[in-house]
Amino acid sequence: MIEKLKTKLTLNEIVLSGAFLFIFLIGIFSNENFLSIRNILSLFQQMSEMGIMAMGLTLVIITGGMDLSSGTTMGLCAVVSGLCLTHGIGLALTFAISLSVAVLCGILNGVLIAVVKIPPMIATLGTQMFFNGIALALSQGNSISGIPEKFYFLGQAKVAGVPLQMILLFAFAAILFIILKKKVIGQQIYSIGNNSKASLYSGIRTTRVILFVYIVCSVLCCFAGNIQVSRVATARADMGTSFLMICISAVVLGGTSIDGGNGGITGTVVGILIFAMIGNIMNLVGISPFWQQLATGSILVLVVVFNKTIEMQKYKIKSRKV
């Protein structure tokens, strides 16, 4: 049985599930409310925005890229939606405008990276400030309140007792999972991450694929932004800016290699879930949030080191056998 599991799961998946179970157990033992349906639903409600953003980042990171502007793209889309809604523009049109802004952001990133060939870290570092600048200029730094109640469905509604954004989270996860594993473009994304030059010579239109990936990432950030606007009934330019580092950490924790070429959506969702649980447990127990920072960093380092140690040991044994 264990042998069977071992062959089916990769090493990282085993370590990750271990870490997940470990924290889950701590949660169960430390507070009786942790396992309540109410808490689990609110946990998912809180993590969906971060999870959706992290899934976009996963795609980008698989191509060997990076999108530091994802947090501020989320803030920009939030402000755009907020302004549209408070100026009496209908829901459908608001979504359309907000999404087109996201697509433009994605195109800008994609062009700078795939056409001008600026290293992704640097290109998106610049656009990060640029998008944040636009959001601040548009909102004049104010938080935009008075969002019409018909917009609340996105972040506050429940379908059969389940928060809508949780359904969206899993829907996006499913779609991206299928794209990555079953579609040609998914293969191409992995291929570019493994070796972009070889991919180009083997006939993959790398520029197009990279553009696609950055646009998808921005669009997902846009969804995350709109969900948050709806959840807190306010739009602010600083929304999402604190998500970036946690999302990158979660993607990596989930087994996606930062150099590109491998990884997947499932791991990312579990990674975000782990970080969300840490915060949730600490709040439930009443530990100062400063410890959260310490715990998040330690878990990231511990899991990655643990992973590598086993990997290295395995490698040693194998090479001895040969």
């Binding site: 600048g133 990158i248 920072q293 080191v305």
Partner: protein
């Protein structure tokens, strides 16, 4: 002459010169002694960090924990100088060096021993270092650092001492990079890791030393920022790691490794400082400052990359990978 034109720093230097020229027209006070001194002194901590970052970037690595390392060192130093009777300029410098070396060595150890991607290790350690000082101090400030300590970074006869230290650090770092075996190994690793390995460079050791050196720089930056400000805010300087990376990259350091100079980073740091200062001096409305800031950086980087691609396309005829 031709050599100067070919150098990467030249382009950024030109943009900087144009920027300064425009600002001096907008406001004559821009080129005053006080303003130039302010711009330089205020960017000393960032500059020292960016100096360490340059080493790391040349090896094709990255260190996102520099700001946390700096505040980690700054916090313990400020506690030390306010509480300990042993505190004097020598022991403080020693402490800064030791703390910086330790935090850097932890990064270096994890990265070289387990061959984990640097960005991941340093993302993790950044939260750990910051978490430790915040948990310990509860986020409260350490106030009223003694006069002898703040005097270390005063202006002496029109000469701002922190700037002198920085120049000294940069000259030493440039010497290490260009003239020592360690420095050349740093370039070799970033240029082509496998080639470096076969040429006999000890990869693990060099990487370890690079991050340790970067940590040392952050430790000293922590000492300097404490001394300049006269008190310490453990939650301060968040996000400066990105500024340090930006400064090095604007100065021509290749984030993919293999090239970069201390002189370039110095120009990059001054450029960042001038933009921030210029936004206020040029009376740009607050809500548009960040927009302009992002735009200038985007334009500078794009310009540099296009220049490089153009140069490369003329140089190379055969591509080998």
């Amino acid at each position: 002459m031709k050599k100067i034109l070919e150098r990467r720093e030249t382009g950024v230097f030109l943009i900087l010169a144009i920027l300064c020229f425009m600002l001096s027209i907008i406001s004559p006070a821009f080129l005053s002694y006080t303003n130039i001194k302010n711009v330089l002194v205020n960017n000393v901590p960032l500059g020292i960090m960016a100096g360490g970052m340059t080493f790391v970037l040349i090896t094709a690595g990255i260190d996102t924990s520099v700001a946390s390392q700096m505040m980690f060192s700054a916090t313990w130093i400020s506690i030390f100088v306010t509480k300990s009777p042993l505190a004097n300029p020598v022991t403080v410098l020693l402490l800064a060096a030791v703390i910086g070396l330790c935090t850097g060595a932890v990064n270096g150890f994890l990265i070289s021993k387990f061959s984990i991607a640097p960005i991941i290790v340093t993302l993790g350690t950044a939260s750990i270092y910051r978490g430790i000082i915040l948990v310990y101090t509860n986020g409260t400030w350490i106030m009223n650092l003694p006069d002898w300590f703040t005097n270390l970074c005063r202006t002496w006869n029109m000469i701002p001492l922190p700037v002198v230290y920085t120049i000294l650090i940069f000259v030493i770092s440039a010497y290490i990079l260009k003239r020592t075996y360690f420095g050349r190994s740093v370039y070799a690793i970033g240029g082509n890791r496998n080639a470096a390995k076969y040429a006999g460079v000890n990869i693990g050791k060099t990487i370890f030393l690079t991050y340790t050196y970067c940590g040392l720089m952050c430790g000293i930056a922590g000492l300097v920022i404490d001394s300049i400000l006269g008190n310490c805010q453990p939650s301060g300087s968040t996000g400066w790691e990105m500024n340090a990376i930006a400064a090095a990259v604007i100065g021509g350091t290749n984030i993919l490794g293999g090239s970069g100079t201390m002189a370039g980073t110095a120009i990059g740091v001054v450029m960042m400082g001038v933009i921030e200062n210029g936004l206020v001096v040029a009376h740009i409305p607050t809500y548009y400052q960040k927009l302009v800031y992002g735009l200038i950086i985007l334009v500078t980087v794009t310009f540099d990359v296009i220049r490089k691609n153009f140069a490369d396309s003329r140089k190379q005829t055969i591509e080998m990978d």
